[in-house]
Symmetry: C2
Subunit: 349 residues, 2 copies
DNA sequence: CTGAAAGCGCTTACAG
DNA sequence: CTGAAAGCGCTTACAG
């Protein structure tokens, strides 16, 4: 059986250059069909006779064929890579999101490329430029706050993009998340309902979602006629347990009369609880403490921490599913998916 | 100026298919040199005249050329992707390693592909198969314990592989880490030196590194004639703060006479400290508690946790640097780099 | 030091 | 429903 075209290169040389992998050509030959027919079967294109498809599939299995992603990407100008840009990994929040994303995309044949922006617009741009050179199949980014340059890169990329964590009403914007403003307000209302009056807000990092939660805090307190700007303590450093210790100290010096504190993230609140323990401040009798995100350890604190459970796994999985639909030409049932958060009341309030 | 070869496809069609990117062909034409010369300059191959190189570089800058990774990978049978396989991301340990790896590889033009194995050999194999199809430039894997199938995949891949976290004396094995046995022994010796006699070992997950630390614990106690197998509590569940709470309870029921506990990981020890606080067990007077890894929050615990600080960032950075050398044909000064860990003595012991 | 040819392994668009 | 041709944007190996 003669191959269709002559191979000027010796077979041995070809094997060396190609790394010895089984190619689609090998499959087509083994199945006795044309290259393009084999390609159609492998790609799952409709309109191939069942007999032909069966023969190709048999050959694929027998030879152990795996498509070469580089060749595919070059011919189709689209890879199977999916950049996922998150601000930080030291926060378990995003680790959960990423694992859920991976769980959906990898089995579907896509490879997530994790990019950590460190809440920095310039880093986000640099990462995205690097990743866009690889002709990704789609994009997953965190929230909506970014530089104009990055916004342009995203839209010029011409691939679907789904936004994580926040929601938005624009009809052409894909997103999976919840209203950070409402969640912030919900926890604040819980504190008000418990009878606390001088309720402080303490936050670090000061990224977009933090400020949205601050907005929720303000709205809830204004609605109850309890808002006092003097009870807000903002700090641009990264959030951490250690910082929570320091911020509680600062707050108590500033406002010894504070009755309850809403910390923007559980790590800060955990630090504050530990600091209260050390200083003998009774929680919640003398001071109530609440956090946000329900991170590992919060339920085990002394006393257990009241917080807002955020559905990270669901956000990651649903965003990945939406992106998958978009990448494969299906239109998702809704451009914006709102997931449910939950105020978890424990002993600290 | 006529292009060398005729383009049967209309220019417009070509632009559409190629995504409108600037190609090396465009650069070569603009610089007035051959395609291959432009390629050599872009790749940084030696032996190109400075004048030619300058003209090419000028054209690259002016046109904003970025090489197409897919075309490169197809022609050279080597991508710039680097799979990094870690057991878990919920442990900050590996997040630190990954960030350090990224910090070295990304600026050098490589893209890490994070794979989480969940301490599961089958998952590791599945991930690796998926990633190897992409003809990665190198591999970064955690430790040495894996299935024979994965071991074969790694060596058949024919690309350099560096092992993270553990060390090994085989001359052809690349690794960056420290002796988990010695580190476990060092912390145990600290407890012995402090005067504790009935020293327990509590561990979860029971992966290879955990068991190596257990070995260190045993050796140190045997050397001091204090080893008592009844003081070991092992649990195969994943490590967490919540599990630490439960394991301390179990241990105290089993052996109310225990004087000190070495927890295999800080999250367990943090849970134990919180549990001791809640139950009114004085630490360290009644019971000393120590952990491993110096995770966030450990220094803020009440009392602060004695632990072993492990140089995650250094491990990630040096392993990535070693891999970079190997991928680019340089031989690293040493196949095995031992990094320094440190026993951090705080109030809990 | 520079270059023309061949090829990497696929998909696209056009025919029938 | 099936196929032959052209091409994706690079690098490899061979010449000079």
């Amino acid at each position: 059986m003669e191959p269709h075209q002559e191979k000027p290169l010796r077979r041995e040389e070809r094997r060396r250059r190609s790394g010895g992998y089984v190619t689609l050509q090998d499959v087509a030959q083994a199945a006795g069909v044309s290259l393009i027919s084999a390609s159609r079967v492998v790609r799952g294109v409709r309109g191939v006779s069942p007999q032909l498809a069966a023969r190709v599939r048999e050959a694929v299995a027998r030879l152990g064929y795996t498509p070469d992603p580089a060749a595919r990407a070059l011919a189709s100008q689209r890879s199977t890579l999916v950049p996922v840009l998150v601000p930080m990994l030291s926060n378990t929040l995003f680790v959960d999101v990423i694992e859920a994303v991976h769980g959906v995309l990898f089995p579907a044949g896509y490879q997530p490329l994790i990019g950590v922006t460190h809440y920095d617009h310039a880093q986000e741009e640099q990462l995205l430029r690097g990743y866009l050179a690889m002709r990704p199949a789609g994009l997953l980014v965190t929230g909506f706050e970014r530089s104009e340059a990055v916004r342009r890169l995203i839209s010029a990329a011409g691939v679907p993009c789904v936004h994580l964590m926040e929601v938005c009403d624009a009809p052409d914007v894909y997103c999976v998340g919840f209203s950070q403003v409402e969640a912030g307000a919900a926890l604040t209302r819980h504190l008000i309902d418990r009878g606390y009056r001088r309720i402080a807000w303490v936050a670090a990092q000061l990224d977009a979602r933090t400020m949205q939660r601050a907005e929720g805090y303000r709205r809830a307190l204004r609605d109850a006629n309890l808002y006092d700007p003097g009870l807000e303590l903002l700090c641009a450093q990264p959030s951490s347990v250690a910082l929570g210790v320091r911020l509680l100290e600062q707050l108590l010096q500033l406002r010894p009369d504070v009755q309850a504190v809403f910390f923007n993230n559980d790590d800060l609140a955990q630090g504050a609880l530990l600091s209260a323990l050390r200083r003998g401040i009774e929680v919640p009798r003398r001071l109530a403490i609440a956090g946000f995100n329900d991170l590992p350890g919060s339920a085990e604190m002394v006393p257990p921490l009241t917080t807002v459970r955020t559905p990270r796994v669901e956000i990651g999985a649903r965003a990945a599913q939406m992106l998958l639909d978009l990448m494969e030409g299906r239109s998702p049932s809704s451009a914006c998916v709102r997931v449910r958060y939950e105020v978890v009341i424990r002993g600290s309030t």
